[in-house]
Symmetry: C2
Subunit: 431 residues, 2 copies
């Protein structure tokens, strides 16, 4: 049986690798449009910041590795232009047709573009090539005034990255909020933090186009476009693969599309939100790897399911950890819940272990008494804290049980009252 995978980054290679482990006899071909495979897109800002010497250090595997160790034929520069499902063939730009029995579509996503996106001095940060060009420009031109378009996690990372190169930064965001949460407290806290680093946050400013040297009437020497991504679904849609309401490919929990034998995974699919049960488009590296594995297993004949996402993410913004999971209060209300929330400030460790300030916000549903979301701002410990909240949200934990959660304590690591427990106590009172 022949398995073809379109896309050789996170989801595609996870699918191919997992399919191989499930079935040693499969013929597996991975078709990657670009020249590199298996690169860590999330590391791009840190390459530009100078933490990595060469961009190749973000490349985890080579096609040779897959050929030799996994007997998977990985072809780079293989640009798929169409899928002919009646004939079970994919067609390359070169005209070559590659037959399949099972197909995994892992075509990823691309940055949303606006007019002027191709002007010199205007960058996106989605590929290895993007990162090299941007770093080069920053080192050679030393831009003084920078504009970032979009205040999602990519925009915030871009702002940090520009600051490490000494530019003053203005972030323009069309909405009146940060990170898509409609959480005024979070937006205020982040605005204050950004101001300390001379980053100006302009909310409610929709940038429709950029001209050389000018964004929204402000002069600038460099622009980074970070106004979100859109799924690469054109080839799939033309082949008759159904899209969901989010605009991404609709899949079952086995990652199967409406066309029998065609699976999809990664940044081109929508997933199920574990709190709302509804489809959601949240393209992230972790989910790409997980959905890729599940697609690969099912394509190879196993029965596995991907339950969905809690909407967990973390981003470092000028040294501050910002973690979110589940629903914000506004999102919960929009979903028909009756949200009750609490926010507290505390410290992650005792003062004598250099404890740093941490800010925890929790949201529960008044009717069911269950936790539906949370936000953490703070130090390195932010990752662990948002993960605990994500685990509690995934398990629909009741606030009264969360309050008594048996979390670890020792002075080098924690406070006797973990900030999550303090927030849970406050949340209980607010019911």
């Amino acid at each position: 049986m022949r398995l073809v995978v379109i896309g050789g980054v996170a989801a595609g290679l996870s699918a191919a690798g997992r399919a191989r482990r499930c079935d040693a006899s499969l013929e597996i071909t991975v078709l990657e449009k670009g020249e590199a495979i298996a690169w860590g897109a999330c590391g791009l800002p840190y390459y530009v910041q100078g933490l990595l010497e060469t961009v190749d250090q973000l490349v985890v595997y080579t096609p040779e590795y897959f050929r030799r160790e996994r007997r998977i034929d990985v072809r780079t520069g293989a640009n798929v232009v169409s899928i002919c499902h009646p004939r079970r063939q994919v067609v390359l730009a070169s005209g070559e047709r590659i037959p399949y029995d099972r197909l995994v579509v892992a075509t990823g996503a691309r940055p949303k573009r606006i007019n002027g996106a191709c002007e010199p001095g205007v960058f996106t940060l989605a590929t290895l090539e993007d990162a090299e060009k941007l770093r080069c420009f920053l080192i050679e031109r030393k831009p003084k005034r920078a504009a970032v378009i979009g205040a999602g996690y990519m925009g915030l990372q871009a702002a940090e990255t520009l600051r490490t190169h000494g530019a003053s930064v203005t972030i323009f965001e069309a909405e009146h909020e940060i990170l898509g949460r409609r959480d005024p407290a979070l937006t205020d806290a982040l605005r204050r933090h950004l101001e300390r680093f001379h980053i100006d946050l302009q909310l409610g400013v929709r940038v429709e186009s950029v001209e050389p040297g000018m964004v929204a009437g402000r002069p600038c020497d460099i622009v980074i476009l970070a106004a979100g991504v859109q799924p690469n679904v054109e080839i799939a849609a033309e082949a008759g693969i159904e899209l969901g309401r989010t605009g991404a490919i609709r899949v079952s929990d086995r990652m199967e599309t409406n066309l029998s034998g065609i699976y999809a995974a990664g940044d081109c699919v929508e997933t199920t939100h574990l709190v709302t049960g509804r489809p959601v488009y949240m393209p992230l590296g972790t989910t790409a790897n997980k959905t890729g594995r599940v697609a690969g297993a099912n394509a190879a004949g196993r029965r596995e399911r991907f339950p969905g996402v809690a909407g967990t993410m973390i981003v470092r913004v000028c040294g501050l950890g910002v973690g979110i999971t589940g629903l914000s209060e506004w999102q919960a209300r929009k979903e028909g819940l009756d949200p009750v929330s609490a926010s507290i400030e505390s410290f992650d460790k005792p003062r004598y272990f250099f404890g740093e300030r941490v800010w925890v916000s929790l949201v529960a549903d008044r009717r069911s008494g269950r936790l539906v979301g949370g936000t953490v701002l703070g130090s390195q410990a932010t990752a662990g804290s948002i993960n605990v909240i994500a685990t509690a949200v995934t398990n629909r934990m009741r606030v009264e049980d969360l309050e008594h959660l048996d979390l670890a304590y020792s002075p080098p690591y924690a406070q006797v009252w973990d900030p999550i427990l303090i927030a849970a106590r406050q949340l209980s009172k607010n019911f």
Copy 2:
């Protein structure tokens, strides 16, 4: 109504403070045998290590604070020698009788002692006074050869503390294991780590008594007794308060004893293990605070319950974080489960963010498919990881769901595959 609390540290003061918030009209008296109240016992090793200048820095509140801010009468040097429940009175060593309507027993625990425990150069580390004496001895005498009796978390902290003062250390442990888990892999990993710091671990050596300058035939200049603690239950038992099979006070999930109107909390009570449903004696500061709050609320007429503990703890051992929660494989088997386990090694972050090695071990029950315990060894991130596992264990999470848990990823904080997810995948395979 008069509420009397015996004990003015974690559980006692949590009970008193919570009772006050629940009922503004209560007359509340706290009787503390010692001179200080509200001190953080878990910080003692770090005072001895020199991270705090004075031991008073571990004292969080003064009696004056409670009198002024909470209208709670806190009496130090008030040594309760008996409880006369028929008359609803506690009797002090001075002969004074103090009447109560409701009583909270929070008498704590004390280190187990052996013959020779009072010899010079032999220390325990349970009180502020202990800590001052030990630090003084270490600074003035500069002992070269140290012995620690017990390889529980206190023994491991003591060994680290002695190393910071330059002594070579031998730990003697009666059992063939560390931290009471009967986990050979954990014991081996810790032994290797301790060896790097010139700490010798002698397992299966029961030390019945110490003589000056000699432990188990080995010469030494200082001994720290850390062979566990026992609950202070004598006064309670004499008053007719029932003890459980663990030897600690038996309480309901409302923290009520068998005597009506008498509650107990903290290191003198047994609690329910959330995985086994059985009583367990696990005296820890976090649990003391939580059970104290619940005892105080119920004593003040509210109805609150304490669900129990997952058995979560963390200890720093010469810089290595060691976190445990739930059951080890051996414990699971002893409880009649059919354990299946997996251990993996990974890194907490990418190499370019100075990722450190992390070791995760998970235990599940084959029949139910549910996670029952775990161990994490590693860097600062250990705390967050063991807390995620504790939250999953508390929620009886299925391994197949754990595998897809939506944990946060960004290179400054994590790997795209969190070590917990890698361990969960391995655990799935081992079923």
